[in-house]
C-alpha cells in the first residue's frame, strides 16, 4: 500500500491533490455530481472578502494557446455569507477545508481571518497575488516588505495555520518566499496566474472587458515548475504547487520540483473529474516505479 499522506502545520492530508482556488465553483457544489469530494486532499474555496464583491464586467474569459486568461476579479458573497451558508456543505465531506482570503486593505484581510477563527476550517490561504483586483491583491504579493508585513499581521489574528499564495509576476520569487517565511507563514502555495492579454484582431480590441487578466493552464506549467524548484531550495516551509496540472505526471513533476501537495485549477473547468484523474495518475506512477512513499521523490531535483 502506497503512502500518499503528509502533515502541514498539524493538519493531516490523506493525499496531495487539492483544488486551486476559484476553479472549483465557490465551494465545490458544482462538482459533487462528478466526483466524491471526500476523496480530495483538500477543498480550497474561492477567494473570500469581508464584504461581497461584484467582480469585473464580462467578457471575463479568453482562451489562449494551451491556456486561458480570466478577469473574474474575485466575485464572492462575503465571509459572513460563507460561514452562514457554505460551511454546512463543506463539513459534510471528509476532507480538509482551506479558505482563500482576499482584501483591499490589511485590515480587511485581518477581519476576514478573524471571522474564520470560530469555524471548522482547517487552514487559511492568503491571496496576495490576484492580478484582477485594483486595490490590495497583487500589490501585497509583489513587494517583499509588504508581503512579510501582511503575513505577520494576519498570522497575529488567526488561530489557523497560514498558507501564503505567491504571485509569479515578480523579478525574484525567492525574495518574496523568504519574506513570507520570515513573516510566519506555515506554508507557501504557488503559483497564481501570470498577467496576460489577448487582442481580437478583427475587432481591434482586447478580448477581455478588463483588457488584462490572469493566464492559467498548461501554458504556465514550466514557469510554475521553475519557481517551485527555486523556492523549495530557499525556504524550509512546505509548498503546495500548482499551475497547469492536467494529469498525474504533471503532479509528479511538481513533487519532484519540491512541492508537498498539488492543486488542480484550470483542468477542473475542462474535465470535472480532473482531480481524481490526477490522483489516479499519481498512484499509477508510484505503482509503475515501486514507490511506496511520495516523500522518496519529493524535491529530488537539485
Amino acid at each position: 500500500m502506497s503512502n500518499l499522506g503528509f502533515n502541514i502545520a498539524g493538519v493531516e492530508f490523506k493525499n496531495p491533490v487539492m483544488t486551486a482556488s476559484g476553479t472549483f465553483g465557490s465551494v465545490g457544489k458544482e462538482f459533487e455530481q462528478f466526483i466524491d469530494l471526500s476523496s480530495l486532499g483538500a477543498i480550497v474555496v474561492k477567494g473570500i472578502s469581508l464584504d461581497p464583491w461584484d467582480g469585473n464586467n464580462s467578457p471575463r474569459i479568453a482562451e489562449t494557446y494551451g491556456g486561458m486568461i480570466n478577469s473574474v476579479g474575485l466575485q464572492n458573497d462575503g465571509v459572513d455569507n460563507f460561514i452562514k451558508n457554505d460551511m454546512k456543505f463543506l463539513q459534510k465531506h471528509d476532507t480538509n477545508i482551506i479558505v482563500n482570503i482576499a482584501g483591499k486593505t490589511v485590515d480587511e484581510y485581518k477581519e476576514v481571518a478573524r471571522r474564520l477563527n470560530d469555524t471548522d476550517i482547517d487552514m487559511i490561504e492568503l491571496n496576495i497575488s490576484c492580478p484582477n483586483v485594483k486595490e490590495g491583491g497583487v500589490a501585497f504579493g509583489t513587494n517583499a516588505l509588504m508581503a512579510e508585513s501582511i503575513t505577520k499581521e494576519v498570522k497575529s489574528v488567526t488561530n489557523k495555520p497560514l498558507i501564503v499564495k505567491l504571485s509569479p509576476n515578480v523579478t525574484d520569487i525567492t525574495e518574496i518566499a523568504r519574506a513570507v517565511e520570515n513573516g510566519g507563514a506555515d506554508c507557501i502555495s504557488m503559483i497564481n496566474t501570470l498577467i496576460g492579454m489577448k487582442i481580437d484582431i478583427h475587432r481591434r480590441k482586447p478580448v477581455l472587458f478588463n483588457k488584462i487578466g490572469g493566464l492559467s493552464g498548461p501554458a504556465i506549467k514550466p514557469v510554475a515548475i521553475r519557481m517551485v524548484h527555486q523556492v523549495s531550495k530557499t525556504v524550509k516551509i512546505p509548498i503546495i504547487g500548482m499551475g497547469g496540472i492536467m494529469n498525474g505526471e504533471d503532479a509528479i513533476e511538481f513533487i519532484m520540483a519540491g512541492a508537498t501537495g498539488v492543486a488542480v485549477g484550470t483542468a477542473n473547468l475542462i474535465n470535472p473529474t480532473a482531480t481524481m484523474d490526477v490522483l489516479d495518475g499519481i498512484k499509477k506512477y508510484m505503482n509503475d516505479y515501486n514507490i511506496t512513499d511520495l516523500s522518496s521523490i519529493r524535491g529530488i531535483i537539485d
Binding site: E30, F34, L269
Partner: protein, 258 residues
C-alpha cells in the same frame, strides 16, 4: 451521486452544411440522461489540446427515444472549424444538458423571435409549446431551418437585403404582424435581444431572452460568464451565471449595458 450532466463520447450520425459556414450535426450517445428542456445547451470539446475550453452549442432538436441531439452551429473560429470537419461515425466529447432552458407553461399566443445562429435553439421550443406560435426569424443573408419552423407555426422571415422574406429586421415584422401576444421567447444577437426587450416592455408582454456570454467551463465552476440581472437588493442587481442561472432570463430582469 445524482448525475444529471455528464461528459461523454458521442457519435456523429450526420454533419451537413446548411448554408455557407452553418452546419447541422446530429450526435448520439446512449450514456446521456435525457432530462431536457428547450433552450439548454451542450459543451463540445476540441480534440486539439491547444484549445482547452469547451464550445457551448445550443440544442436545436432532440430525439429522446433514440438519444439523438441535433446541433446547428456557425463556423467562426478554430473550434467550430474542427467540428465542421467531423464526419459520420467520428466521435466527439460532449457534456449535456447544460443551462436552465425556457419555461413552457404558456398556452396562449406565443411569439418566437430568432436572429441568425440564435434561431436553432428555438426549434425544439416551437415544437413543445402549447398554444399558437407566430415565429419571426431574422438573418443577415442566407436563411435556414425555415421549413422546419413552418411545421410549428406561422413563420415570418426578414433579411437585410430582402432577398429572402422581407427586407428589414424582426422588430419591423413584429410591428406589422403581431396583434396579440401573451409571451415572447427570443434568442439571437445582443442588439436584437435589446430591441425585443424594449418591444415587450412597450407592449406589456412577458418575454424570455436566451443570452450568450464567453464561457470558461459551462457548468458553474469558473464564474466567467457573469451578467447583471435585476434583483431587489441595495445595488439593484446581482451577477448571475449565464451557464447555470441562464442562458434564459426574464427580459425585464436583463440589464444589458445599463
Amino acid at each position: 451521486m445524482c448525475v444529471t450532466k455528464k461528459k461523454v463520447i458521442a457519435k456523429i450520425l450526420k454533419n451537413e452544411i446548411l448554408v455557407d459556414n452553418v452546419y447541422k450535426m446530429v450526435v448520439k450517445s446512449e450514456e446521456l440522461i435525457f432530462d431536457f428542456k428547450p433552450g439548454q445547451f451542450v459543451n463540445l470539446y476540441s480534440k486539439d489540446k491547444s484549445m482547452l475550453l469547451p464550445r457551448p452549442i445550443s440544442v436545436c432538436e432532440i430525439d429522446e427515444e433514440n438519444k439523438e441531439i441535433t446541433l446547428v452551429f456557425m463556423v467562426v473560429g478554430k473550434g467550430t472549424e474542427e467540428f465542421s470537419r467531423l464526419r459520420e461515425n467520428d466521435e466527439v466529447y460532449l457534456m449535456a444538458f447544460l443551462g436552465n432552458g425556457f419555461d413552457l407553461e404558456c398556452e396562449g399566443e406565443n411569439i418566437i423571435v430568432g436572429g441568425g445562429v440564435g434561431t436553432p435553439p428555438l426549434l425544439e421550443l416551437a415544437k413543445r409549446l402549447k398554444g399558437n406560435n407566430k415565429i419571426f426569424l431574422g438573418f443577415r443573408k442566407d436563411v435556414y431551418l425555415i421549413d422546419e419552423f413552418k411545421k410549428y407555426g406561422e413563420v415570418y422571415v426578414a433579411t437585410e437585403d430582402g432577398e429572402h422574406g422581407e427586407k428589414g429586421n424582426v422588430i419591423d415584422l413584429m410591428n406589422k404582424y403581431v396583434e396579440k401576444a401573451d409571451r415572447i421567447y427570443s434568442c439571437g444577437p445582443k442588439g436584437m435581444l435589446k430591441a425585443v426587450k424594449e418591444y415587450a416592455a412597450n407592449n406589456k408582454i412577458e418575454a424570455y431572452l436566451s443570452l450568450e456570454e464567453r464561457m470558461g467551463c459551462g457548468f458553474g465552476a469558473c464564474v466567467g460568464c457573469a451578467v447583471k440581472i435585476k434583483e431587489d437588493n441595495d445595488k439593484g442587481y446581482k451577477n448571475k451565471k449565464v451557464c447555470v442561472d441562464g442562458p434564459v432570463f426574464k427580459a425585464c430582469e436583463v440589464m444589458f449595458d445599463e
